[in-house]
Structures are given as C-alpha cells and as structure tokens.
Amino acid sequence: MERLSTVLDAKGVDYRQLNDMVRACLAQGERHIVLRHVRGQRYLGAGLTAGDLLLEVEGVPGEDLAFCMGGPTIIVHGHGQNAIANTMDSGTVAVHGMGGDALAYGMRGGRLFIRDSVGYRVGIHMKEYRELKPGVVVGGTAGDFLGEYMAGGTMVILNRYNEQESVCGQADKTLATGIHAGEIYIFNYDVPGFLPGIGARLLPPDKADTERVRSLVEEYCHYFGFDPTPLLTREMVKIIPAGSRPFHKFYCSAYPVHAGLS
C-alpha cells in the first residue's frame, strides 16, 4: 500500500518546534514529509537516521540542514544557506538552487547535490573510511578554500555555465590547501597556477576517475532533470594530495623535534 505524504506548514514556526513536528511524524511511521513555507528554520533533518525517509523542503531552510544526518533523502525546492551536510554520515541532500558557505564540513558519507553555485570553504575536512565515501557535486562554481584539509571523498565542480573566472576560488594557495586524501574534479577550467594550496597536485583524470565522476554526475542530473551527456563530454582536471602528510616539511624546520626538550 502506498503511503500518502504528510504536509506540514512551517510558516512562522520556530525551528525547535518544526523539528519536533518532523520527528513526531517519523515516530508515527510517516516516510514522506513535505515542509511548506520554510524560511530560515535551522537543523532540519539533523540527526535523523530513517533511511527510507523522504523530506521535501519548500522554501529556504536555515543553517545546518542535514547536520549529522544518517540515511534520509532531503530535497530542497529553493536556495540553501550555510553548513549543509555538516558531519553528515549517509543519505542524500539535493538543493534546487544555490548553497552558502562551509557546506559538507567534515562530511563522512552520503551525497550532496547543489544545482547552482556555492560559497566559500566547501568540503573542508571531508573524510572517508572504508566503504563510507562522501560525494559532493556543485553545478556552478565555488569560492576560496574549496576542499581545505580534505581527508577523503569526492567533490565535483561541474561549472555548468562554463565560467572562465573564479570557478574554484580566486585567492592564492587556497584551493585544497592541506589536502591529504580525497579528490576534487573541476570541469572545463584551466586552474591558474596560483590557486592550489600546499599539498595539492593537479593531474589529468584516468579511466577509473572518469567512471566515478560519471556516476556522481548522473545522479546529480537525475535530481535536477539535466542531460548528463553534454556535461560529461567536457574536459576536467583532478586535484589530489601530493602526499599523505602535506605539512611534514613545513613544520619540521619551524619546530625541530630534537630541540633538546625530551
């Protein structure tokens, strides 16, 4: 038997109450919840673990959407704000619009799809462990400090409109600074030499990379109704760590281990 969806009107509702309402619906066995007139309410989907939950958000959800979420699918019909998918474990978030700063911070698994562009510090400290590998696809461009201290997972900057400026930040040595695991793919953009930070290395993708990116981009396109083929025929570049300890030499000279203290 197909379940009907539950519609909750979020207009003027405080975020604590709204999250309580969602949890109450979940406890009653609802698995398709639609939130109408959402405007800035924080922490939606935070900590939820029901793998079969579909949460649809109409409007603009507030900070920390899907924080520590493990399982559900969230679809946002509107723009997103900051810190989406913060420390998220698994599940999927798809935003039909733009995203703010510090998305996917410390993300540990699952998928984050942003239809348009995102702000600064996206994918900082993203990580992976065995089968848990987070994937992020950004349809437009990203700001400085993309993938700073990245420790795992895959991030794709799709650059759908083929911008030729500030596709992955604009300030010196901010792109993937301190990356020590994981990978970033940038489409159709000649990454300027001054952008990559300490420990970041640019390489052409190999066949396995292309397949991995194809699968992520197809999933992204599925949510937003785009044709993946023309997007995937464009060139891309891969950014990976030069080594597993990017600051090894950096700190050694400044703070010698044998300083006579031990």
């Binding site: 800035g40 703010g100 700001g143 400090f145 010196d172």
Partner: protein, 360 residues
Amino acid sequence: MCGIAGLISLNRIRENGSRIKKAIVLQNERGNGLGAGYGVYGIYPGYENLYAIHIMASSEEAINQAAVFIRRWFKVQKQEPIPVWEKAIRDHPYFQRFFVETPESPALCSGGQNEDGYVLEKMMLMNKEVSGANAFSSGKDMGVFKGVGTPRDIYDFFMLDHYEGYSWLAHNRFPTNTPGWWGGAHPFNALDWSIVHNGEISSYGINRRYLEAQGYFCHLQTDSEVIAYLFDLLVRRHGLGILEAAAALAPPYWATVERLEDSERQEQLRLLRIIYEPAMLNGPFAVLAAFSGGMFSLTDNTKLRPMTMASQDDYTYFASELSALYEMREDLQQIVTPRAGEPVVALYHEPAASGEGVTA
C-alpha cells in the same frame, strides 16, 4: 554570530520599520537578547537641515548635564524625550533628542573646520566629559535606535512602526568579547554614517590608536565602533570614494595586487594599503554601512562572515541569511552573495534636497 539586515529605496520612498523588523526578527537565533538596534534615514522631515542628536543617559541628572552641554555649543531648535514603550523593556536608560544647528559665530568653531567636523568634535567631547551620558546618533534627518534586548524588544520599545524612512539598517547582537550594554549595541554612528557589524575586529588596538590620533574618541567598549569613525575619516575628511575606502579597510591580498594587469589600479591599491595600513580591518567581519548617499556591504577578504543581497525595482536588500531577504520581499528574482572583500554599493538615484554629492 550577529545578524544583519538592511533595505534601501533608491528613489527615497519612505516606509515604516515593519519590513526590516521581519527580516531581523527572522534572524533572532543569531543574537542572544543582549543587543539589537536600527538605523533609519529620512525620518525627520521638516527638520532635515538640523543635526538630530540622540542621547542615552543613566540618570535624569546626566540628561540635564548633556542638555547644558549641548545648549552651550549649539543652537537647539527642539528638545524632546525619545518616545518609548516601557512595556517592551522596563529597565532602560533615559532617552532624549535634540535638533540643533551649529552656532553662526565662527569664533566658536575650532581650527576653522566645517559644520560636520564641529558637530562630531562636540559629540566626542560630550561623551568624554559628561558622565553617564552618551550621544549615539548625530546625523541629519536620520536616527539610530538601539539597546539591550532582542530585535523585537528594541523595535517595540522605540515604537519604530511610527517612523518612516527610505533606508533601514538592523542588527541583532551576540556579544562575544565585550559587554552587552546599551551603548554597545549596533548601529554605531558618526554624523550621517551608521554601521552594523557581524564579526570581530582583531586590529581594534591599532585602529583605535590611529583614530585617537585623528581626534576620535573610542568610548563604547567594543571593537565595532572604529568602523564608523574610519568611514567618517576616510570619506568625509579625506575625500575618498566608497570603493577606495572599502579597498583601504578590506584590501586584497598582496599576491592578488601583484598579479593585477591594470598597473594603475595596482599602484592605487598599493598606495591605499601603505597609506592606510593602520586603518586596515583585520579579523572576520561582514559590515553593512549606511550614509547620506546610500548603503553598502563589505566583508573581510577571506569571507569569514556571511552577507547576501538582492536588488529589485529600485530597492536593494541585504541580510546575513538569505532567507531573511525574502522577509523583505517575497518574489525576489535573484540573490547575490558578494565575493570576499567585494563591496556592494547601492546609491540613491538623486541626492537629498539638502545633501552633498558623494561618489562611489
């Protein structure tokens, strides 16, 4: 994590505070009830050529001393209590406003400076000399209303439904390193400049020493006040444009400057950075500033605090969180998040009837 909201009618169409209230109340979670405030331009028609001085004081005695001080240095056209609704906030200072002109006798003006300079100098002097009183708003045809409370409390306390202005600033404070007190709420004002700020100014010490050497008196126990004085210094006194002042306060990285192909721009940025090194703001900040010519936002060049904006039908809207933009207008077509260090400037189409021209 303070909250910011602003709106400006480029055609100077007046409205009451209900839209800006919605935008800042939506961001209630960004503050903690220890400070909120509003700045509004175009609210004193009939008095637009007079300086409107808002005073807060800890006692009636202090109000009286402030009145004596103001009457000594200015021609007071009108003095009245600022109306407040005490049910919103019971424990509050005393408020009084004065509509004043500078004296005609040039002997009273020190150093041959203009009217604006005279007014600011006397405000600084009053804040230093009159114990328990503080002039927190001194521009023409504008006013700052602020204090300790949530954005809703402060709005209701000052009854801002009853004021109509063509640009509004709002702030929701989350005091971190400095006390939450009535004078420490935002906006901070110097003549027609008002600023609201989210973040912290780590360079406060050097900025303050620089400003104090130029005659400014930093007395509000908070870092943000230096921003208002810096804009006053750079734009009014030194004659910089808004974009030049923004480049001095939030300069691009040296590496970015070195890479510029436009050598004239490169040299200009170098000079600004060298000349105004002690004015440079360090630390995370998003600032929204309003003045007689319009309104603009500015963030630090690593974008450590959020700012979003939208422009539609001769209005420009600013907010820390983009959901708050929709509180001011439901059908916004395009939202913009300014890049790090990039000022977004919205100027009125026409200068005010009494206003001076300001360039971007």
